[in-house]
Structures are given as C-alpha cells and as structure tokens.
C-alpha cells in the first residue's frame, strides 16, 4: 500500500523507508507538518506514519487538521515522548495507532500490516477470493495448492485490487496507491505489473479484468 512518512530526522526516515519498501509498500517522505498536509491532500495514501516532534507544526496539529478536513486516512503516530497523556491525546485526536520510539522493527511492521488490513474493512489477515488465498500478514499468496511468488509491485497491485474485489479501481487510483513519488515509473509500468500478476494467477485464480479507459477489477469468483 502507499504510505506517507512524516519524519524530520533524515536517518530515521531513511531506515523506515527501506524497511517498508522491502515489505512491498510505496513510500513517500516529507520532513515537515505543512508538507505532510499538502501532500496528503492530493495523494491517496493508505497510511500516514506521523512523527509528533516536527520542526514546524507538531504531529498532533497535523492529525487534527487532517481529521478536520475530513481525511479518514489511517494514521500511525510516532513519538519520542514518554507520557501516557500524549498517547491518549493522539488517539483522541483520531490516530489509529501509536508507537513510541525507540520501537521494535517487528512491531512497526506488524502494526503497519494490521492497519492495512483494517483499511479493507476486514481485519483478518487471511482473505479468500475464489480459489485464491491472500495472507496479508505474511504476504503469502496461494491459488489452490499452488504458492504464487510475487514481486513487491505485483503484491502491491494485488493488495490494492483485492481490498476492493468486485469493484472497478481506476487506473489513477491504482497508480497512486502502488507507486510513490520517487519511484522510477515508466509510462506502462502499471500495465506491465498487472499483466505479470494476471499471468501468475492464471489459470485457476481470480481474473483481473481491464475496463478500457476506466481501470481494473479483480473478479470475486
């Protein structure tokens, strides 16, 4: 999924970016609250990882403004502060989860996965679509008895389509969810990934239909 990291500490941001990119997510990074607000207004992020201590407006303020303008994006707060007050405040302001620095990498990954599942309205890690089983915690995909090996972009496409199986996902939305700003994207990168994914799922898995001029749809059956 597409994740925005709002963190002013460059080394930490670099670390979290490599970590989450390796897990197949598309990551964008900004270092200030104002930048976060302007980027989040235009890009369809599934998750914002928001540091509380930012140089301009703090993370709480960013969260409050996001919620005030009706943005329901999932927000995971990161804080270096100790107090329980901060956690309560963050959750009250509409944060979906909260993590204190220094955090365990496994915990960050697990929470990101959990938040990703909740986005689809279904928090269970396993999802069945026709003969296909997707485990969103482990990233394992099976069709029948067959384990499908996916590259991380293909996984991102499948995850995005599976979350809205049976619905048309517009090309632009899919593009925005799968690629970050900085990803080197060729004009037909999305098509290439969709095509590869489609061939890997065939013949017994669910079909990915192209709705010409609109987008893509993963068949429910």
């Amino acid at each position: 999924m597409r994740i925005l990291i709002v963190e002013d500490d460059a080394p930490l941001a670099r670390g979290v970016i490599s970590l989450l990119r390796a897990a197949g997510h598309a990551i964008d990074h900004v270092a200030s609250g104002e930048d976060a607000l302007s980027v989040a207004a235009t890009e369809p992020y599934s998750l914002v990882i928001l540091d509380v201590g930012l140089p301009d407006i703090d993370g709480f303020e960013v969260l409050a403004r996001l919620r005030a303008r009706g943005d329901q994006v999932q927000v995971l707060m990161l804080t270096a502060r100790d107090g329980l007050d901060d956690r309560v405040r963050g959750l009250d302001l509409g944060a979906d989860d909260y993590l204190r620095k220094p955090f365990d990498v496994e915990e960050l990954e697990a929470r990101v996965r959990a938040l990703g599942r909740r986005r689809g309205g279904d928090a269970a890690p396993e999802m069945r679509i026709g003969a296909m089983t997707i485990n969103r915690s482990t990233g394992r995909v099976e069709v029948g008895e067959r384990v499908i090996e996916l590259r991380r972009r293909e996984w991102a496409v499948l995850e995005a389509l599976a979350a809205r199986a049976g619905q048309i996902v517009s090309r632009e939305t899919l593009q925005a969810e799968v690629f970050g700003f900085d990803d080197p994207v060729g004009s037909n990168a999305l098509e290439v990934n969709v095509t590869r994914l489609r061939s890997k799922l065939a013949p017994d898995g669910p079909a990915i239909r192209t709705v010409r001029g609109v987008g893509y749809m993963l068949d429910r059956s």
């Binding site: 460059a10 670390g15 490599s18 140089p55 955090f103 990498v105």
Partner: protein
C-alpha cells in the same frame, strides 16, 4: 545539660537565654525598689510617729499656765496614753522654765533655746540613758514670766524600728514573689510565643517527603512580624529549588527524548542489516556517532550549567585555545571538505580573564557547528579582534546561516530549525555556547555573514 560524647554542641536554649537576660535586670530593679522603699518607709514611719509625739507635746504644752505669777501645769494622762504602744517604748518628758526644771526628767538633753520656735514643735534624735530617743520640743512664752517655758516629750525608737522592719519585710517578700513569678512565667510564655514557630516548622516538615517534594510557597496562617522574614527566605529558597529541579527535570526529559530518535535509527538499521542490507552498516555507524556526540554534548552542557563549582578566574590565551580547538576539529573539517583557519594578529596578545576549559568547549562547539552547517568547499574562520568594547572571538562559516527571526530560537536547547536538511544535530551546540558564554560573562551575538553565520563572542574589559 551535659553533652554526651559525640553529640553536637548546642547553643543555649531559648528558655535559658531569656532567663539569664531577665534575671540580672530583675534583681537590680528589686534592689533599687528595696532602697527606695526603705527610704519611703522610714520617712512615713518617722512622720507618723512624730505626729503622735507632737500631739502629746501639744496636749501637755496646752496646760502650762501662769497662776499668780507662778508657772503651773496639769499633766494630762491622755497625752501619755497616746504614746503607749505594743513595743512598750519608754516615754520621757521635761518641762522647764528657762534652765530651771519644773517637772520631769532633769537630765533629758536640753534644747538650744534660741532656735526653738513657739509655733511649730521641733523633733530631733538624741542619746539618753544609753538608748536612741526621739525628742519633740516646743517653747512657750508666757505673759509676766521672764524666761521661756520649754516643753519636751521623748520616746525610745523600738516601735518605729519594729514598724519599719515589718513594712520592709512585706516589701521584700513581695519583690521575691514578683521575681520568682516572672522567672516561672518564662517557660509558658516562651511556649506560647513560639507556637507560630512550631506551626512554621510543621509546615516545613510536611514538605520533607521522599515522594514528590512540594516546592510551592509555604501555606501557614498569618505569621508574627518576627517570623515573616524567615518564612519569606524559606519561600525564596523553595522557589530557587523549584526552578532548579524543574530545569533538571526538563533537561532529563529533553535528553531522553533526544536519545530516542538515534536509538530508533539503530534498531531499524540493525534489523535491516540482519536482512542483508549493505547500507545498514554505514547508517549504524552514523547513528552511533550521533549518539556519542549527543552524550558528549549533554555532559558538556551539564558541566557548563553546574553552579558554583568553577575554579578561580585565570588568564586565558585565546590564541592558544583557538589553536587547540582547531586542531581538535581539523579531521572533521577535512572530511567535510571545509577549510578551517585562524585569523589573528601575530603580534597582538589576546588574553581574557575566564576559565580555560569553558572557553575551549565553547569555541570547539562553535567550530563544530560551523563545519557541520557548512557547504562542501566552504570555509570556517576563527578570528580574534580587539576593539573598544573588549576582546572578540568571531567564528564565521559559509553555510546557510540562520534567519534573523530564528536566531533566538536557535540558542534554545534541543532546537532544530525548520528546513534543516543537513546532518543530524542534537540542537545542543549553540545552547552549550550560550551557557558557557553566560558563565564567562561574555556577550554572544549571531550575525548574518552574507552568506553564512557569524558568531561573535565579546569578552568585556574586566573579564
């Protein structure tokens, strides 16, 4: 109270002090009162008895008459009755015409006739038959009698002495009771007077808890004027302690907060290294450097903040300190591709009164900042100048500088300015510089070096 071995020596108790302070003056006052009382009592006893004596004298003198050329008198018994008393004083009398005895005791000491008045009886002490007596005497001039008639009545002094003694005894007894009472009152009076002090002590003791010391001003009832300065000084002490502890608490919180981010970086990068990332080791290296620097800076700042432990002022040679600070930073400068140079007049002396280690830490942090926030190929200049305001230590760089609006903020602890995309800093460098400058009594000023930042530390003439 005998102080046992090892117990600390105690000052005299307040009760003793008050007792000692009061006893002397009280005894002196009692003695003075005794002397005055004795004089007054003697006077009153003398006057009263003299009046009785005078009464008897008058009654006898009344009866002296001339009958057919002969002086006669009729001694009234009532006159002597007046003089009877419990002490059985002896009463003597003598009535004479001129020198010739009419009746009475002939050897009663005769008066000096010339000075004796006919109006007022005269009283005097005399010696008679081995005893002190008081004589009342009056003169009467009778018609057709050549010589003046002299009437004398005398009594011994036993009654007078006894009366005076009784009165004196009563007076002295009263005084002793008064002094004793005053001394006995010291303890309860002191207890009552010191009750506000006990309340104050209770209020102070209530603060002495291990849990979370309450450093707000004491809340006591209205205090006597004598205790108000004490309570005020205690409140001031509490307030200073409060400032110090909250500064310490803030600092600890800030410091731990500051360590969390590099620790997170370490954790993330260690995980990535385990998964085979090539980048991770370099990042781990950087993060540990950063933690190390943060730790060093925190310690330096704590030292610069430490109150009251500075050694005496010494002459600090700024040229020597600058050279040392530059040689400490030269490797860092080479790695960052920054030229580092000292600009000072070879012949001039740049010596200021201060503390060498503080000047060194301050300069070292300034140079560190200047290298860190510079551009590759940039320059850092440490310059020494002298002008009317004093000796100046100037560090300038070619970095992005700090906008005027953010300069005050830049000196705050853990301040990291917006839009900083350069190397990670702790935000402590300028705080250390400022704290050191403050302790050295030097003036710190940030200026635009167009481009870059110029930091000017001015040591006053005196320091």
């Amino acid at each position: 109270m005998t102080a046992a071995e090892g117990t600390p020596k105690r000052a005299l108790s307040l009760r003793r002090r008050l007792g000692i302070a009061m006893l002397g003056p009280l005894v002196i006052a009692a003695l003075a009162l005794g002397v005055i009382g004795w004089a007054l009592i003697s006077d009153v006893v003398r006057r009263t008895n003299d009046r009785v004596l005078g009464g008897a004298l008058g009654a006898i003198a009344e009866t002296v008459q001339v009958e057919r050329g002969e002086v006669t008198l009729d001694l009234p018994p009532a006159a002597f009755g007046m003089l009877e008393n419990s002490e059985r004083d002896n009463v003597y009398y003598r009535i004479a015409v001129g020198d010739e005895l009419l009746t009475g005791y002939a050897d009663l000491p005769a008066p000096d006739l010339a000075s004796l008045s006919t109006e007022e009886p005269r009283f005097r002490y005399a010696e008679y038959r081995g005893q002190r007596i008081r004589i009342g005497e009056v003169r009467r001039d009778l018609p057709r009698v050549q010589a003046p008639v002299v009437v004398q009545v005398a009594e011994t002094l036993d009654n007078r002495n006894a009366l005076r003694q009784r009165l004196m005894t009563a007076l002295l007894l009263g005084e002793v009771v008064l002094v004793g009472f005053a001394l006995a009152l010291i303890r309860p009076a002191l207890g009552w007077s010191l009750r506000p002090l006990a309340e104050l002590r209770a209020a102070i003791e209530a603060r002495d808890t291990r849990a979370a010391p309450d450093l707000s001003p004491l809340r006591t009832g209205p205090l006597p004027a004598e205790l108000q300065p004490l309570s005020r000084s205690f409140d001031r002490l509490l307030a200073r302690l409060d400032d110090a502890t909250s500064a310490m608490r803030r600092f600890t919180a800030d410091a731990s907060h500051q360590m969390r981010t590099p620790l997170s970086v370490l954790k993330v990068q260690v995980a990535l290294a385990r998964r085979g990332s090539d980048e991770a080791l370099r990042e781990i290296d950087e993060a540990t450097d950063r933690l190390e620097r943060l730790l060093t800076q925190l310690l330096t700042l704590a030292r610069a903040d430490e109150a009251g432990t500075l050694p005496p002022l010494e002459q600090v040679d700024l040229v020597e300190v600058s050279r040392r600070a530059i040689s400490r930073r030269i490797r860092q400068a080479i790695e960052a591709d920054v030229e580092l140079l000292l600009d000072s007049d070879e012949k001039a002396q740049f010596s200021v009164l201060g503390h060498r280690s503080l000047v060194y830490e301050m300069l070292s942090n300034l140079v560190d900042n200047a290298i860190r926030y510079n551009r590759p190929g940039g320059k850092v200049t440490v310059a020494l100048r002298k002008d009317a305001s004093g000796t100046q230590l100037i560090v300038s760089d070619d970095g992005p500088g700090i906008p005027a609006a953010q300069r005050a903020q830049a000196m705050a602890r853990f301040a990291r300015l917006q839009g900083e995309n350069g190397p990670p800093g702790s935000g402590l460098g300028l705080a250390i510089v400022q704290s050191s400058a403050e302790r050295l009594g030097a003036n710190l000023k940030l200026e635009d070096a167009g481009p870059g930042l110029r930091v000017i530390v001015t040591f006053g003439q005196g320091g």
